[in-house]
Symmetry: C2
Subunit: 373 residues, 2 copies
Amino acid sequence: MKIAQIAPLFESVPPRLYGGTERIVSFLTEELVQRGHEVTLFASGDSVTSAELVPCSVRGLRLDASIADPLPHFMLMLDRVLARASEFDILHFHIDYLHFPMVRAWRHRCLTTLHGRQDLPDQKPFYMHFGDAPLVSISNAQRAPLPGAHFAATVYHGLPADLLVPAARPSRDYLAFVGRISPEKRPDRAIAIARAVGLPLKIAAKVDKADEAYFRNAIAPLLAGDGVEFVGEINDLTKPDFLSNAAALLFPIDWPEPFGLVMIEAMACGVPVLAFANGSVPEVVDDGVTGRIVGSVEEAIEALPQVLALDRCLVRKRFEERFSAARMAEDYVRIYRRLARRRRNTAGAAIEPDLSDLGPGQEIAGGTRTHVS
Amino acid sequence: MKIAQIAPLFESVPPRLYGGTERIVSFLTEELVQRGHEVTLFASGDSVTSAELVPCSVRGLRLDASIADPLPHFMLMLDRVLARASEFDILHFHIDYLHFPMVRAWRHRCLTTLHGRQDLPDQKPFYMHFGDAPLVSISNAQRAPLPGAHFAATVYHGLPADLLVPAARPSRDYLAFVGRISPEKRPDRAIAIARAVGLPLKIAAKVDKADEAYFRNAIAPLLAGDGVEFVGEINDLTKPDFLSNAAALLFPIDWPEPFGLVMIEAMACGVPVLAFANGSVPEVVDDGVTGRIVGSVEEAIEALPQVLALDRCLVRKRFEERFSAARMAEDYVRIYRRLARRRRNTAGAAIEPDLSDLGPGQEIAGGTRTHVS
């Protein structure tokens, strides 16, 4: 198929540093190319891809100090997409809202993956209004606040199988926390759990400007004691070693996490996950296989020995079955084909193809159909 | 003509409080309706107009605490515009960037007035790319950073003639400063000038969150001495009295002001303006008639007696000649008609009508043609 991928411009594809969405767009794009699809990637000019790249900004906007407003750059990108729209069987958008009015006339060739939380009051009326534009959620939990929206499927994220692999002889002598230092991610809970069970904790995290006061007031004092090491932000080079040697990943979140990429990064390393039951967690963690799902710090302390006892080979195996980039690409191709077929079947008959059987009743989720009512 | 006005959603049209763009859209819309045009106003649902209102949000987004992200609301509005686009002879946008890719197919029925400063590095490549979309600048100075953009004209803002009028017996016992407390507006210069000439200064200004530190550190200490009164933010009810009794308006700006509405508000009251030569100032102030234009605090101190001696009747007269809402509406109708004629002449012949004679060489500015090379 001829496929356009439209990525955010904030980071390159793949990103140099942080940037979950751009990373997933990269994994998907490379898998699609490898499967023989003709893929055109609309992304920042410093992106690296085996697809055809349409550079839509000199570099990732976040790395460019001269950028004051990202909007004009996104609109320039959309104009480039518009100019070539007729070439593609499918246009796959990863940029939230900006394209919806523009693509109305060819919306049934368009698919939009929602990458963020969807519980802001601004979002519900928006997706109600554009109720005939097919969407993809990255967990079933993510779509809960949007009952009127037109979800074609849930497609869980995936990683290339060889990106992160188990360590040959993991040290397993610390618990790991990876993410942002923020009240939603609850590093304070990770510290409390680690201290209670007497295991060292290593915190690999960045501190956003918005969270500096939280770090200073709530977290820094907790770091003073023994057994907790703050290692700062880790990158793609240091992450494999950091994750794969951990005894377990702590994911004690307190927000509606739409997916939680770090959970499957840990699983790829064979590292089990101790996670709090919020957002996507019950869908991503197989309780008793790839980790344990808990509701409180007390439950977490009680469950940790079970987490440490899980078979790391089985954790890796389950990752390969459910969260590979190959599976993610196959899920998406199945949706692309279904949209294209629906369009052909109705061509000339109706200008608004019936996509109702792509609604919440039929899901492609983690390679298996699940039902969400 | 059938005209659509597309306003920002941040404030109602007209705004309850601050909101220069929404205010101008209101003045223009009411004048067009009065001239017999069929006007449809796309704006927030709490707008008040004699045109047909298409409500695009419940209320002005800035007054709605539940709004986290304005973008989905603007995209909903654009979708409503799209649904009715074929009805209009002219669609006049006041919302910066968001519509440009969407209106490509009917861009020669679209006009965009730029209301803000245009010297950000993001803007030049944007308007170069959309070089065939006709724009209106609100001063010639505003367009200086955008040499490649397609300006159809400069149209200076205008006010309804009876909105602000001279006081019967103005007290003329203070100098006035109106605006935001910000480093660009330079209230410190106003204070220095007033103290040097020994006249009381009244500062009617709001303090934005971003400027709180500047207010606290740079301005509050200056307010401690004699002769300066900080009266806070004024509204439409208190503004007439505040402005019309002033001896002069001080406008000692230090930034590329795109227009400077308060200057013509003062002139409407017959109040002369002492302004610094930045941005639009040399176009808006007639030096020696409606005020004096200076380059430094020293020059301002020297010029103030001349400003106070200006004939307030002539100030008001020049306001009526150059800055009435009637003149503004006539300027815009002339551009609307020209765009429509150009479209008819080329219909069927070319899909890209030649609009070159609407370029910078021919301007409609303040009712007279001016040349900008």
